[in-house]
């Protein structure tokens, strides 16, 4: 066994986070302990305001843990870890850049691409076009984000999060604002990309079917202050299909997660 397989890529032990200083303090996340293996796809579900986005910010180092520790590659995270891919519920594309230039952004910032960018622009543009085509956006590179539909913007957003082949991908309700059909289509787009590249992924979602469809492990969080109350490995074979989501084995897991969250609400 290589040490990489033995030690998980991301390790949270007893991590908690308090927003605000004197006076108004909010305990957003309490005592989170979890580990994510390299190439693992985890999903985090839980009631609104329970600290899921906060958990993501801890893992990426955007916020320092108030207590406990966050380790990536065995090292304590103190500042934003580099080269993570992130996508949020709203696409946050830059309206002044074309879709292609938006997706090129990470390559202008992340090493080693940054150094090679000017000289190898054509090569990178080809890479972007290929990725766009793989999410069904071939030929839309020249359009500005505001010329795209919400679903198309979210696809571009996904491309931007993936173009630099990040080791870790963070998705915060990326499909939340989409209609059911587009959402389900993007699940399979994402699953295919993941099967191909095996980036370590943290997906925050409200949709239990989405979590079970995509993840290797689903974590359920309690109401604020958020604690992890259930860790549920999903051992369904891959690639999973939309058909599978209506089969008994799948539905049972969804129900189990639902019950867990309902009890929490009661």
């Amino acid at each position: 066994m290589t040490p990489e397989m033995a030690a998980p890529l991301v390790e949270l032990s007893g991590a908690s986070l308090v927003y605000g200083r004197e006076g108004e303090k909010t305990l957003a996340l309490a005592d989170a302990t979890l580990s994510i293996g390299k190439g693992e796809f985890i999903a985090v579900v839980g009631p609104s305001g329970c600290g899921k986005s906060t958990l993501m910010k801890l893992v990426t180092g955007l916020l320092p843990a108030t207590s406990g520790s966050v380790k990536v590659h065995g090292e304590v995270v103190r500042k934003p870890i580099k080269g993570v891919g992130m996508a949020f519920q709203n696409a946050t594309l830059m309206p002044w850049r074309t879709t292609r230039d938006n997706i090129l952004l990470p390559l202008e910032v992340v090493e080693p691409h940054k150094r090679r960018f000017r000289a190898n622009r054509a090569e990178y543009v080809a890479k972007v076009e290929a990725l766009l085509a793989s999410v069904g956006l071939g030929g839309f590179g020249d359009k500005f984000p505001w010329q795209l539909s919400g679903g198309m913007q979210q696809r571009s957003n996904l491309c931007r999060a993936l173009i630099h082949e990040p080791e870790i991908l963070m998705l915060d309700e990326p499909f939340g604002a989409l209609d059911a059909f587009t959402r389900e289509e993007l699940w399979s787009v994402l699953q295919n990309l993941w099967l191909e590249r095996r980036f370590t992924t943290v997906l925050v979602t409200h949709d239990l079917r989405e979590a079970v469809y995509l993840a290797d492990t689903v974590y359920v969080m309690s109401r604020r202050p958020g604690r992890i109350i259930l860790k549920r490995p999903i051992e369904l074979p891959r690639p999973r299909t939309l058909e599978d989501t209506f089969k008994p084995g799948f539905v049972d897991i969804v129900h189990e997660l639902r019950d867990c969250i309902h009890k929490e609400h009661a």
């Binding site: 990426t60 870890i81 002044w96 202008e108 910032v109 992340v110 090493e111």
Partner: protein
């Protein structure tokens, strides 16, 4: 099709038509109420005076124009730099912003005599007055553009490992551009006010001086000719700012042509 075309033509002609009607009413009112020329000259009279004195008008117009443009240019440079500093750093913000507000509250007419003591009579007080009066809106707008970067956008950049400088150049500055251009439209008009005030209070050239000296000679028609000259220059410079804005920040209008 044709009706749409003619509607469009009408829309373009509207400002001219309205101006024409206004002038007509003015002319008729002057004749009808027998208003004396020293009180309010008729537009036709102003037009004639403009033609008679076009040489001096043009010369003084150009004088006012270049002092204004230089003051305005300085205001853009200083306004952008200070705006970026204030918008990017809360530290600079808390230090400078109250001072800027206090400074902006000072009536600019009050500083012209001081400038004249320091710099004497000439173009310098006009340039500086144009500068100080037009620079505040630029600072505020650029700083606002920077300060309102979406936190998610910042998070995306930071998680890519971008430095503060990269966040500024790749997100902050492009984002601040529409704010900058919106402020330029206001600032150029203010700059004209500034230079004309300086010329009026103590200049020896420029439209402001021309109007003041004509007023002293009871030559009201020339004063009005000066007013129109300023208005025309203001509109032209404003249109120039709008044209530049449209070229550079098309995305901010989502492709719609806003007039």
């Amino acid at each position: 099709m044709t009706s749409e075309k003619s509607l469009n033509a009408l829309r373009l002609a509207m400002p001219w038509l309205v101006t024409l009607v206004l002038f007509l009413l003015w002319e008729l009112a002057c004749i009808g109420f027998r208003i004396e020329e020293i009180v309010l000259p008729r537009p036709s009279r102003i037009f004639v005076v403009t033609l008679e004195r076009w040489q001096i008008l043009l010369e003084f117009c150009l004088q006012t124009l270049w002092t204004t443009v230089i003051g305005f240019g300085l205001a853009i440079v200083a306004g952008v730099l200070i705006g970026l500093a204030i918008g990017a750093s809360p530290f600079v913000y808390s230090g400078l912003y109250p001072l800027l507000i206090a400074f902006n509250a000072v009536p600019k007419v009050a500083i012209v005599p001081i400038l004249m003591i320091w710099l004497g009579v000439g173009p310098a007080p006009a340039i500086i007055t144009a500068f100080v009066i037009s620079f505040f809106p630029i600072v505020v707008n650029v700083a606002t553009g920077l300060a309102t970067i979406e936190p998610e956008m910042r998070d995306v950049m930071r998680s890519l490992g971008a430095s503060n400088y990269e966040i500024l150049t790749k997100v902050g500055i492009p984002r601040a551009m529409p704010y900058l251009f919106a402020s330029l439209k206001v600032a150029i008009t203010l700059a004209f006010i500034g230079s004309v005030i300086a010329e009026t209070v103590g200049g020896n050239r420029g439209i402001g001086f021309l109007m003041l000296s004509a007023g002293a000679r009871n030559d009201t028609a020339t004063t009005f000719a000066g007013l129109f000259a300023i208005a025309i220059m203001g509109v032209l410079m404003y249109a120039l700012c709008v044209a530049v804005e449209k070229r550079t920040t098309r995305w901010a209008f989502r492709g719609e042509l806003v007039h």
